[in-house]
Amino acid sequence: MKTTRLLAATALTVATGFSATAVSAEELTLCWAAWDPANALVELSKDFEAKTGNTMKFEFVPWPNFADRMLNELNSGGKLCDLLIGDSQWIGGGAENGHYVKLNDFFEKEGISMDDFLPATVYAYSTWPKGTPNYYALPAMGDANGWFYRKDWFEKPEIQAAYKEATGQDLREPQTQEELLQIAQFFQGREIDGKKRYGAAIFTERGSEGITMGALGSLFTFGFKFENTPGKYDMEGAVNGPDSVKGLEFYKTLYKTATPPGYTDAYMEQSLDAFKSGQVALGMNWFAFFPGLYSDPDIGGDKIGFFPNPPQKVAGSMLGGQGISVVSYSDKKDAALEYIKWFAQPEIQAQWWKLGGYSCRKSVLLDPSFKDSQPFAADFLVAMGDVKDFWQEPAYAELLLAMQKRLHDYVVADKGTAQEALDKLVEDWTETFQDEGKL
């Protein structure tokens, strides 16, 4: 009897041991930027932990250091991150330098179809070379640069009257870039509720990507293009053509005539601070922050309104957002893929939107109830329909820093003309693409 028991116990132990090995729980590290949606993802991931037994660790880096920190991590072959929600522009480098795992076979095996996601997000966040069916990420967080404004100020009869008197028009959500400028200028230096207020909080940051992301929003609507023919790198006349020059001059006017004093190095945080503290009537920022703004007890709720980047000559919004990739240097690739499989499920994507993340899945976005689910949801769909991104080339950092320098020199530091700034930018980019062997 004793022997039988002993054998049974041994068999049980061995069986348990084997089964534990087969579904061994892993601790996965997910790397992303430190911002509101990251907190939503922590909450969402608890379901993954409960269902799989894996545990999640998060490495969130503030935006100004995010690219530096994560690209260094990837370039050094670091094992810190098993999963990375990397910026859309990193996809070229991530694919060509072997940092990201190619997901085609995995998608096929698990029945994950890219047709289930919004085409613009698949193109921007997942594919390399651009537009080809080679996937290195699952669209994780849709995002675009949009606007918010003090609805309560817009609704004040005395302000509406003053605006009508000053411009001859009704005060409303701006329908064009010119109208946006006009409204921002109207509020600049105006006293409201006994305090001096300013026009708009826009992006002017020099160090990482701020001024480029902000200015491109205007540039796109004036007709700026990166290339005359997509994929040919023929930038002369597109980057520095008359439309682009007008767009850049417009952004400088917006900065010079409608932003708070000392607003020379501002990005996401500064824009939010300026708006939350009641300094400005309008603010530019990523849609990712809109749920947080709407729920803010001081400036949220009925006091805030949202609108997508207004068109001028054409419609256009600066693309934000990211895809989620498996880092090729990870020792836990299987568990990381399991996370992606879990994350791609329709019900998880629906929950992701509810918690404050921006799903890219059609089942969520094209649901009839989506537009009314949040006050900014309909604007988000409009913005995502017109998004354009920065270069996604492997040399994107070089291209971005060149644009940061040229734009900041012209817009903030008053160096030269818009034409000269864009001409120099074409020179810089031409040199980079020549080094890359693409020109």
């Binding site: 690209l71 020099r206 020379t264 020199d409």
Partner: protein
């Protein structure tokens, strides 16, 4: 009588090893002792320098491991020396170096001269003056950013109080004409105490009897200053200038925290520009050539300066 430590070591050494060591010359033993240091020096300093020189002739990019590395001769050097933007960063660095050193020497020496006098609370004042130097550059950069804030900053308020101009009408960190001075002011505030301490050491090294002899010869205070104090403190002062010059040539953290090199590229010092080329754009070959040019410049200037310093000391 107990054995001496040398005897004890000799006895403890195994006979086989002792025989071997006995056979070595003094020169060999000296090499054995020096070799680890030389090895470390070669590994940590010389090898990276040679490797950097090698990379400076290539198109290498550290973030592109799979890319073919090509030797491109002097092209990186030609591009750097022919780039007007790089010369602008050199100009910004020269402005920063000249004014920080000039102000720090002037104020530092004056403070040292005042502190050197015997008065009540002398030690307390010395400690208070030295405090900024003890802070982290990141902290200093951060709180000066607040002080310079046009709407709530104390600096703008003080300027407004004395001049009557609207505090929000100027931005120390955001205006091209003011930003280079904003970083000079902060560096001077932070590092003047360092120059003061070195000058103080120089002033305290002057024996009292020299002043007594000068007083007996009826030399005025002004003459004593020019013929005794200044010449005897000069080597210390020159040393302080050398230290501050080298430190400020590689200035990075404080300026990044304050302006990030902006507005535009107005305060983009060479070190910030170099870091962007090397670790943000990842143009490793190009950045290596840039680093070599800076190294040669600093090395050349420092060598000339040290020779001048030695001459002053010999006088």
């Amino acid at each position: 009588m107990s054995a001496s430590p040398i005897d004890r070591v000799a006895k403890a050494t195994p006979p086989k090893l002792a025989r071997k060591i006995r056979g070595l010359s003094d020169r060999t033993i000296a090499w054995i002792f020096v070799a680890p240091s030389i090895f470390l020096l070669l590994a940590v300093n010389i090898f990276p320098l040679i490797w950097t020189i090698n990379l400076s002739f290539t198109n290498f990019k550290a973030n592109r491991p799979g890319r073919e590395i090509k030797y491109i001769g002097l092209r990186n050097y030609e591009r750097i020396l022919g780039d007007s933007d790089i010369w602008l960063t050199m100009q910004a660095t020269a402005h920063f170096l000249f004014w920080t050193i000039a102000l720090q020497v002037l104020i530092g020496f004056t403070l040292a001269w005042l502190i050197n006098r015997k008065f009540k609370g002398n030690d307390l004042w010395t400690t208070i003056i030295v405090l900024p130097m003890m802070l982290s550059p990141a902290v200093v950069g951060n709180f000066w950013t607040f002080l310079y804030q046009p709407q709530i900053g104390l600096f703008n308020y003080v300027v407004s109080f004395f001049s009557g101009v609207d505090p929000s009408s100027f931005s120390m960190l955001g205006e091209v004409s003011l930003a280079p001075w904003a970083i000079v002011i902060v560096d001077t505030w932070m590092w003047t105490p360092f120059v003061m301490l070195i000058c103080l050491a120089g002033l305290r090294s002057i024996p009292d009897y020299i002043y007594e002899a000068a007083a007996i010869d009826r030399a005025s205070k002004w003459r004593q200053f020019w013929t005794i104090t200044l010449p005897m403190v000069l080597p210390f002062l020159m040393l302080a200038v050398l230290f501050r010059g080298i430190e400020n040539f590689k200035m990075f953290d404080l300026v990044v925290q304050l302006t990030g090199g902006g507005p535009g590229s107005t305060t983009e010092l060479t070190s910030i520009n170099l870091k962007r080329e090397a670790f943000e754009k990842w143009r490793t070959g190009y950045a290596s050539a840039y680093a070599i040019i800076l190294f040669v410049t600093v090395f050349g200037l420092a060598s000339i300066y040290v020779k001048a310093l030695n001459k002053v000391k010999e006088r």
